[in-house]
């Protein structure tokens, strides 16, 4: 049976991915200096984490207030393995991601049985606990002072953090991969099961969906997204502090999801772009960051529940005949 024709904008996997690739390819023409590249790279790295978190919050409807914990473990895992122990960075990144996946699997099994407020509080506690460990284990992590991270080298080619062009290309490609994987997942049996259990756990379970297993799957996947983003951020920045693991960073990630639009993969990139770029162009941002994050979260939930990108797309669609 033939599928009905879909509009270009509505087909995220073909049209959307092509559009994103085009934007990412054209962007360097507009980025006029190293500072702009730097911002773009940070946006891309944050977006990777946010795309993963959006799978959990936006699609599966499960909240995590501790995702910076996974981001931070990825960052510190890479820092310790490649810095202290001299592992090749790529191997360190993969090993950290594997460790984070294992941790998420073990922690997720019990806490994902919880729902709503209880899950939120349990993930908040998990994040604080990871923060506590990283701050306290000074011998390994440098404690509150942080630690330096060697530059990234891939297959013998060293990527210094001053090598903005190469970093931009790497992050752009990884962002495309991250989006592609997420879109594939959403439009697969696993993704449909996640969206279904978000809408009605009861209907999903009597329909044959193992609800607990699917929550665990998406929790682990989103943790791995965060871990990889964390590892790359650590290598790019060259230095990490426990701030990357902190409560505020967890809330930042959630705000990016909410602002961009829950259950919108491209929205996640928009959310990351706004919140990463804002402080670069708003000099007083640092002092006002928590106030702004809080205000954005509340305002979105009251006035713009679908978020920026889906909200704007709705307007565009409404204008078309």
């Amino acid at each position: 049976m033939p599928l009905p024709p879909r509009r270009w904008l509505d087909d995220p996997r073909r049209g959307g991915l092509a559009a994103l690739a085009l934007i990412l390819a054209m962007l360097p023409l507009v980025l006029s200096n190293r500072f702009h590249f730097d911002v773009a790279i940070h946006v891309g790295l944050a977006a990777i984490a946010v795309i993963g978190l959006n799978l959990l919050i936006g699609y599966a409807g499960q909240i995590s207030l501790g995702h910076a914990g996974f981001f931070g473990l990825g960052a510190y895992g890479s820092a310790v393995l490649s810095g202290t122990h001299g592992w090749p960075p790529l191997l360190a990144l993969l090993a950290s991601a594997l460790a984070v996946a294992t941790l998420a699997f073990l922690v997720g099994r019990p806490i994902l049985r919880l729902r709503g407020h209880y899950l939120a509080m349990a993930t908040l506690g998990m994040g604080l606990l990871i923060f506590m460990v990283i701050t306290n284990e000074r011998a390994i992590t440098g404690g509150p002072d942080g630690m330096s991270v060697p530059g990234l080298s891939l297959f013998g080619y060293a990527l210094g953090s001053r090598d903005k062009g190469a970093w931009y290309a790497l992050v752009a490609v990884l962002l495309l991969v991250a989006v592609w994987l997420a879109l594939n997942l959403i439009d697969s049996p696993v993704g449909r099961a996640l969206r279904a259990l978000h809408a009605s756990e009861v209907a999903a379970t009597v329909g044959g969906v193992d609800v607990a297993q699917h929550k665990l799957i998406v929790f682990v996947v989103s943790a791995v997204y965060a871990s990889v983003a964390g590892s790359l951020s650590a290598h790019y920045g060259g230095f990490i502090t426990p701030d990357a693991v902190g409560f505020l960073h967890s809330i930042e990630l959630v705000t990016m999801v909410v602002l961009g639009g829950m259950a919108s993969t491209y929205g996640a990139i928009v959310g990351a772009a706004v919140l990463v770029a804002l402080p670069q162009f708003l000099t007083a941002f640092h002092d006002y960051e928590p106030v702004l994050l809080g205000a954005i979260l509340i305002a979105c939930m009251i006035f713009l529940r679908r978020g920026l990108l889906p909200g704007v797309l709705d307007l565009v669609r409404a204008r078309r005949p």
Partner: protein
């Protein structure tokens, strides 16, 4: 023994604060089924505001009274501006709203006040009282006494006043209360005002002992929450017992195991309760499960 007693004293002192935070959770939860993640911020506002009013030259009692009044105003504003407009929204939406409020208040405190640690002078001197070889700060008696007064006042309010009975009726069955002519919107507002006041009082009382800072709220919320579910979510007596137990467990953990990881105790308690004792000690509403 003296050592144990010392840990016990510090445990029940912070435990009394957790109990007051847990009471705040309970009151709002019973009125609205919302867990207010900004509960810890009320404690922070109480402490920080009185510190700054005091340093602005106000006498301590007036500074305290004003600090509590400001916290109450913030609580009411939170309800009117953020909770009421989202009535009927999903749980995730409400979580995001109160988390947003928490981070917003923390940010405001950072701007209005500063990013330093602050303390208040102890209300009645700092000469410790020695009991069984352990030292008890006079301020700890203020905290315990204050918590006792709060508990007694709440008990009187909920059982002896019409408004208190209306709040209990609403907690029991919102629709039936509405049909009986109770203004449930006012009950909701009152619940925010009350828990803000209790939180602020706790903040004022404990600041001379534990210090306070703009970002103290999240950890207090986590511990108060641990106390509330340990006692059984929705149960006021449970909140008090849970608070004291969490405080004692934390002090013992810090004393005998590791002071670096004392904050982990609350989280461990949360997990243990959620998995093995979902109704808490006093049989509150069961934790939702799949």
């Amino acid at each position: 023994m003296a050592e144990f007693l010392q840990f016990f004293f510090s445990g029940i002192t912070v435990g009394a604060v957790y109990a007051m935070v847990a009471l705040g959770f309970t009151i709002i939860y019973n009125a609205s089924e919302v867990i207010n993640f900004a509960q810890g911020e009320f404690v922070m506002i109480g402490g920080m505001t009185s510190v700054f009013l005091l340093s602005a030259g106000l006498p301590l009692p007036l500074a305290i009274a004003l600090a509590v009044a400001i916290a109450v105003a913030v609580g009411i504003a939170l309800n009117v501006l953020a909770i009421e407009p989202a009535r009927g929204a999903s749980v995730v939406t409400l979580i995001i709203i109160t988390i947003g409020a928490s981070i917003l208040l923390r940010g405001l405190a950072q701007i209005v006040f500063d990013r330093q640690f602050h303390t208040l002078p102890a209300f009645s001197g700092e000469t410790p009282i020695t009991i069984g070889g352990a030292a008890l700060q006079p301020q700890a008696l203020w905290v315990l006494g204050g918590a006792l007064v709060v508990v007694l006042a709440l008990g009187w309010f909920f059982t002896r006043t019409l408004m208190g009975k209306a709040m209990r009726a609403t907690a029991h069955n919102r629709l039936a209360a509405q049909l009986a002519g109770i203004n449930v919107r006012f009950v909701l507002m009152l619940s925010f005002a009350l828990s803000a006041a209790i939180g602020a009082v706790a903040g004022v009382l404990v600041t001379p002992i534990t210090l306070t800072s703009y970002d103290a709220g999240a950890m207090l919320a986590l511990k108060g929450f641990a106390a509330a579910i340990l006692g059984g979510m929705g149960s006021a007596a449970g909140a008090v017992a849970g608070g004291l137990l969490v405080g004692i467990a934390e002090a013992m953990g810090a004393g005998y195991i590791s002071s670096d990881y004392k904050d982990a105790v609350a989280f461990v308690i949360i997990l243990l309760v959620l998995f093995f004792l979902p109704r808490g000690l006093f049989g509150g509403k069961s934790v939702e499960r799949v």
